[in-house]
Symmetry: C2
Subunit: 130 residues, 2 copies
């Protein structure tokens, strides 16, 4: 498998020596596809290939990696029939994600009428404001 161990609370995480649980969570969630997988898995148990399709055909190798991480972190588990689900803890996590989803709607709304025109951080005018 690849490198970087599954972030867990209590011990140092990638790029952090503190080991605070928040940072561990932020690291876990801050990996490509992790949030998405939790989201998709939240509504119903899914088999590997179906889950992959739900995630816009993400690469199987990474999906496998993420699923392993989520299992190690006790957010997901495999059912008898081989499909994946969220554990109670995993469902909690997904619920915790609820406000983020709500926020994204406001975000979309806000960007809708706000002028996306401005030279938004592109190679804009003032370079050094010293």
């Amino acid at each position: 498998m690849n490198a970087s161990p599954t972030p867990m609370p209590g011990r140092p995480v990638r790029g952090s020596t503190t080991g605070r649980s928040v940072m561990a969570a932020l690291d876990l969630f801050g990996r490509r596809w992790t949030l998405r997988i939790i989201w998709e898995l939240g509504s119903e148990p899914l088999g590997f290939r179906l889950l992959q399709r739900r995630c816009d055909g993400m690469s199987s190798s990474v999906l496998r990696q993420r699923l392993t991480e989520l299992q190690e972190a006790r957010l997901a588990e495999v059912l008898r029939d081989g499909s994946y689900t969220l554990t109670p803890l995993g469902h909690d996590a997904r619920e915790a994600l609820g406000p983020v989803i709500e926020w994204s709607r406001r975000w979309a709304a806000e960007l809708a009428d706000a002028p996306p025109t401005a030279a938004e951080g592109a190679g804009d005018g003032q370079r050094n404001r010293f």
Copy 2:
């Protein structure tokens, strides 16, 4: 600069053809350090170098990239004095992250007494359950 454009609601996102705002948000937040930056920036405005230190010395190139993305997404902005803050929208986002932080505590607690022993998804027993 690097590739992959800043995810924005309304148009297709990396690995998604739907363009639903939720997916855009999940993509934006699912980039390394993004959540962390929002988190650190939430408490007070920070200059580039200080922010970098707060983020466990993350690489400056990526920090620059993330800050640009966050500005484009209207979550962050630069103050007169050159320091970075969250916009109101950005603060909303951070608040939306609150439950995730709470959850991480429960997560830590749960993993504390749960047996971290089991062969958790490692090359465990049954390979193909067909």
